[in-house]
């Protein structure tokens, strides 16, 4: 038996006790780090198109994300990405590099449980939902595209 009224009051009291986070500094951190990652991406893309003039913008775009993903994986490996994340929050989660980090970090974490059941099985613990939802949404988008 739980005293619901007391629990509600207690939770309200706890919320009022909690230190309020200041949103502006963290928004700013997220903004400039996120911006920097995108800028880096743009830089990669532009230089690719500059050095390989035959490359179309679409192909360069694919290269761009592939390179960013690779860099983020590496930074996760050497233990730098989580520090960027602690500073920038969503600023480094939302870019494609965050997606890469969310695949590489559980893979590293569970490596000690073996290659198959550890590393490979746990690789999509965080990124799995993103791919599943993404694929479902793409089907919905395809159907919508047909209707309109």
């Amino acid at each position: 038996m739980q005293d619901l009224e007391r629990n509600r009051k207690y939770n309200e009291y706890v919320t009022s006790k909690m230190a309020k986070t200041k949103p502006w500094p963290s928004l700013f951190h997220a903004f400039w780090v996120g911006g920097l990652i995108c800028l880096l991406g743009e830089l990669i893309k532009d230089s690719l198109m500059y050095f390989f003039p035959t490359m179309t913008a679409d192909v360069a775009g694919v290269w761009e994300s592939a390179i960013l993903i690779f860099i983020a994986s590496f930074l996760t490996g050497v233990g730098v990405y989580d520090r960027i994340g602690a500073y920038a929050g969503a600023g480094s989660i939302v870019p494609i590099t965050g997606f890469s980090n969310s695949i590489a970090s559980p893979a590293m974490e569970f490596k000690r449980e073996g290659i198959i059941f550890g590393l490979c099985a746990k690789m999509f613990v965080i990124a799995g939902p993103v791919i599943v939802i993404g694929v479902i949404a793409s089907i919905v988008a395809g159907i919508l595209g047909l209707i309109f």
Binding site: M18, D82, G85, M108
Partner: protein, 335 residues
């Protein structure tokens, strides 16, 4: 009956602390209590291949050292009471595997130190064993892996979060003529006031500590002033403030004699938000700072209340609120 009220056991034969040891990891070694810990490891893998193995090794090593500190040989120890945060308390059981001492696993999450001391004192006091080893430990990296996110995932820790202490502590109890005695213990009830946020353990556990402390004071008829130190395990900054508010509401005023291990263990610059948590938090401080201060006569009566959150990752994902527990142990210096 050797009992006061409903929940407080009294130990008339005075089980005493005959040995103790504490080991912590590198981060804790840079905190506020660096000079008190018996040993600070500069490598948090303890020479092992995984953090789970490291945790087990750390607990095993702490127990071995505490037994040596008590001037006993491992085969002279009658019972070992230990627990930790890992699923199926593997770290402690694996440590017991290599020590080959009769073993009873304890699980009280972060309250394990107080729980094992309480049961150990009962066994020694009742004459069932001549000595008992009470130990627990926790490791930041294995706890993060089990309860939160991979270490390398770039997320921000919420401001109410706490940092799991890498550390272990062990106390050896026996009937003895002198030494710090365990005079009574209060077994807590599971208390749940509906907090669901697993990143706000302090707020979830404070009501349990409140319940146990209030019951203890009621059972013994004491006032908080009776104790030189009332020490909670790992409520953290927010949790201890809530506890003080709750007790004040009930008419007990905690003053300068109240402290929280979690709040104290790390220095401010270490960015642990609300402070430390985990079994190792209370265990390492009790077995270093507190016992040393008691031996030197600075502290005489100490009430150690360790709190624990009894949730699992599955129960948290299913939206259950966090049931919590707290056990209290009274230590008395012999000066």
């Amino acid at each position: 009956m050797n009992r006061l009220g409903k929940q407080t056991f009294v130990f008339n034969n005075y089980p005493r602390v005959i040995g103790n040891y504490s080991v912590v990891g590198p981060k804790e070694g840079k905190g506020n209590f660096a000079q008190f810990f018996d040993e600070i490891s500069d490598n948090d893998l303890f020479g092992e291949k995984s953090y789970e193995k490291a945790e087990s090794k750390m607990i095993e090593y702490t127990i071995t050292q505490a037994i040596a500190n008590a001037k006993l040989k491992p085969d002279e120890v009658d019972v070992m009471l230990a627990g930790d945060l890992m699923n199926q308390i593997t770290s402690s059981s694996f440590a017991a595997r290599s020590l080959s001492i009769p073993y009873a696993g304890m699980f009280g999450a972060c309250s394990t130190m107080a729980e094992s001391l309480c049961i150990g004192a009962c066994l020694v006091d009742g004459g069932y064993v001549s000595n008992a080893v009470c130990a627990t430990g926790s490791h930041f990296s294995s706890a993060e892996k089990q309860f939160r996110y991979p270490l390398e995932l770039g997320t921000q820790r919420p401001p109410t979060s706490q940092w799991t202490v890498t550390g272990a502590g062990c106390t050896v109890l026996a009937r003895n003529d002198s030494g710090i005695a365990v005079t009574s213990a209060t077994i807590g009830k599971v208390v749940d006031w509906g907090v669901t946020d697993a990143n706000n353990m302090g707020a979830a556990m404070a009501p349990a500590a409140f319940d146990t402390i209030a019951t203890h004071l009621q059972d013994t008829g004491r006032e908080p002033d009776y104790y030189d130190l009332i020490l909670t395990g790992d409520l953290g900054k927010l949790g201890s403030e809530i506890l003080m508010d709750l007790l004040e509401y009930k008419g007990y005023k905690l003053g300068k004699n109240y402290s929280d291990c979690g709040q104290m263990i790390y220095a401010n610059y270490q960015k642990t938000f609300m402070g430390g948590s985990g079994c190792g938090c209370g265990a390492s401080i009790l077995n270093s700072y507190v016992l040393q201060r008691m031996r030197s006569g600075h502290l005489k009566n100490v009430l150690f209340v360790a709190t624990g959150a009894l949730m699992s990752t599955v129960s948290a994902q299913q939206g259950e609120s966090i049931p919590c527990i707290a056990h209290g142990v009274v230590l008395k210096g012999d000066l």
